[in-house]
């Protein structure tokens, strides 16, 4: 009940007894949950929220404007498997935003050296697909998926590529991992009335007025950001939210 959440927040309380800026305790990253099929995979648990991400490699032609660079595509699907709130059908706008926000932090951080994904300039490059699914949505999918995506990428190993036939041999996996230079991570802070919260539950998410997802580089700089929700934010609030998210990201990075 939205009113109930707001009433509690007036006294700085939350439905599950957490403090406003308290993350759920049991955060877990498991690697290789689909070791045989996916070249990289991970499962992230935050409270009762569970998401999985998997990496698949493919080969294709590069984009004409970047002939010596491989391609990375990040996608999320909000499968009705994981929540009564999700519906079947083509990706909803919520799923599209989620994919793009997770994608942005990874892409803009420059952590993936796409030049190293080039097989033959102008002709063949690697395509890296990172796909994410919730298994159980108990809130805060943005943070969970950001963690899962980067974890799956860290877990990934290239399959064997046969230069003669131009085909990928998926049964043979090399020892080479993705050329990753860092671990960009995102953290979301939501605002309900005048209160700021971390790690929202599904009900808190439904009641939010504004939210800010901030992506951070390892050095603490910001590499991506997305403001959501129907209400506006002041510079002071944005600054505060960035600070909160930055502190939390340091803790999240430790579970990787």
């Amino acid at each position: 009940m939205k009113e109930h959440i707001k009433k509690l927040l007036d006294n700085d309380l939350r439905e599950d007894g957490r403090k406003l800026l308290e993350y759920r305790k049991n955060i877990k990253v498991e690697y290789g949950i689909s070791p045989k099929s996916a070249e990289g995979s991970a499962q992230v648990t935050i409270g009762d929220t569970v998401v999985v991400a998997g990496v698949k490699f493919g080969v294709g032609t590069p984009f004409p404007d970047t002939p010596d660079e491989g391609v990375m595509i990040v996608g999320a699907e909000l499968i009705p498997f994981s929540s009564p709130d999700f519906e079947s059908g083509p990706p909803s706008i919520v799923a599209i935003e989620l994919s793009r926000v997770v994608d942005r932090a990874i892409r803009e951080s420059g952590c993936l050296d796409t030049k190293k994904l080039c097989i033959k300039k102008g002709e063949v490059v690697w395509t890296v697909f990172v796909d994410m699914y919730p298994l159980n949505d108990d809130g805060n999918l943005f943070d969970a998926m950001s963690l899962a995506a980067i974890a799956a990428m860290k877990d990934a190993k290239f399959p064997d590529y046969d230069k003669k036939t131009g085909k990928v041999n998926y049964t043979k996996r090399t020892k080479t991992g993705l050329p990753l230079k860092g671990t960009p991570l995102e953290c979301t802070v939501i605002k309900i009335k005048d209160k700021l919260l971390l790690d929202p539950s599904v009900e808190e998410w439904k009641a939010l007025d504004a939210r800010l997802t901030v992506g951070f580089l390892d050095n603490g700089n910001i590499c991506a950001m997305q403001k959501g929700g129907e209400k506006s934010l002041s510079v002071k609030e944005i600054s505060k939210m960035v600070e909160i998210a930055g502190e939390q990201v340091k803790k999240l990075r430790k579970v990787l």
Binding site: M1, K2, E3, H4, K7, N11, L13, G17
Partner: protein, 233 residues
């Protein structure tokens, strides 16, 4: 020859044969298939002489006349509200079934708005049509409170014998609590107490099939309430 294959309070799954032979009779949660009595849902066996029952461990709410339920207003027409009561069909509350006199043509959201939670009683169920009434004591719109979803098969355990369990929780936590037959529970009290009551109810929901439930719940509340007060000091 008749032969009983299970003991009292065994966990059984659909398709499990409980007994052979005609000496036994199938009741709730079971059916007869030729010579066998078979469970048709996951649950605990209950043997009452020759009668075999399976008490469900998990079940979706099936509306029945006389049930007091909690529902959320999701739709309105010119003469009725429609409530989501957590089953496949929406329940209808007609203006004629409310406690106050409502003139025809009035905007019904002046009385109950979208998203309001109401405690009402089912008067009729006919092929997916569920009719509600509020013309009884205690039936009303619920104020701002905490809502928890529990399994409908656990509702009797949460209420307890002659309401013993729920009275105990209400008394010890000082919360107002309404338990809908449909598995929605509404709580209102001091935030800390509200949480203890909610946790206790969640515990019953998860452990209802285990022994010594009342004692464990009482112990839990005593510990938590005391602990809570100590913390405040």
């Amino acid at each position: 020859m008749s032969n009983l294959k299970v003991k009292e309070k065994d966990i059984v799954v659909p398709g499990e044969v409980l007994a052979n032979g005609m000496d036994f009779l199938p009741s709730q949660g079971t059916f007869r298939d030729g010579d066998d009595i078979v469970a048709n849902m996951i649950g605990l066996t209950f043997i009452d002489g020759r009668v075999l029952k399976v008490i469900p461990l998990n079940a979706k709410y099936i509306p029945r006349p006389g049930d007091m339920v909690i529902g959320k207003v999701t739709e309105m027409s010119f003469s009725s509200w429609f409530l989501d009561i957590g089953c496949a069909n929406r329940a209808m509350l007609s203006v004629r079934e409310t406690q106050e006199f409502i003139e025809s043509g009035v905007d019904l959201s002046r009385y109950y708005r979208f998203g309001d939670y109401i405690v009402a009683k089912i008067i009729k169920v006919t092929r997916g049509n569920i009719d509600l009434t509020m013309k009884e004591q205690g039936l009303r719109r619920l104020g701002v409170g905490k809502l928890i979803n529990i399994n409908t098969s656990k509702v009797p355990r949460i209420i307890g014998k002659q309401g013993s369990m729920i009275s105990m929780i209400k008394e010890k936590t000082n919360c107002r609590i309404v338990v809908g037959k449909n598995g929605l529970v509404w709580l209102q009290g001091e935030p800390a107490d509200e949480r203890v009551a909610a946790e206790a109810i969640t515990m019953i929901n998860e452990d209802a099939h285990k022994d010594g439930l009342t004692e464990r719940i009482e112990e839990f509340i005593n510990k938590k309430c005391k602990g809570g007060k100590d913390e405040k000091k």
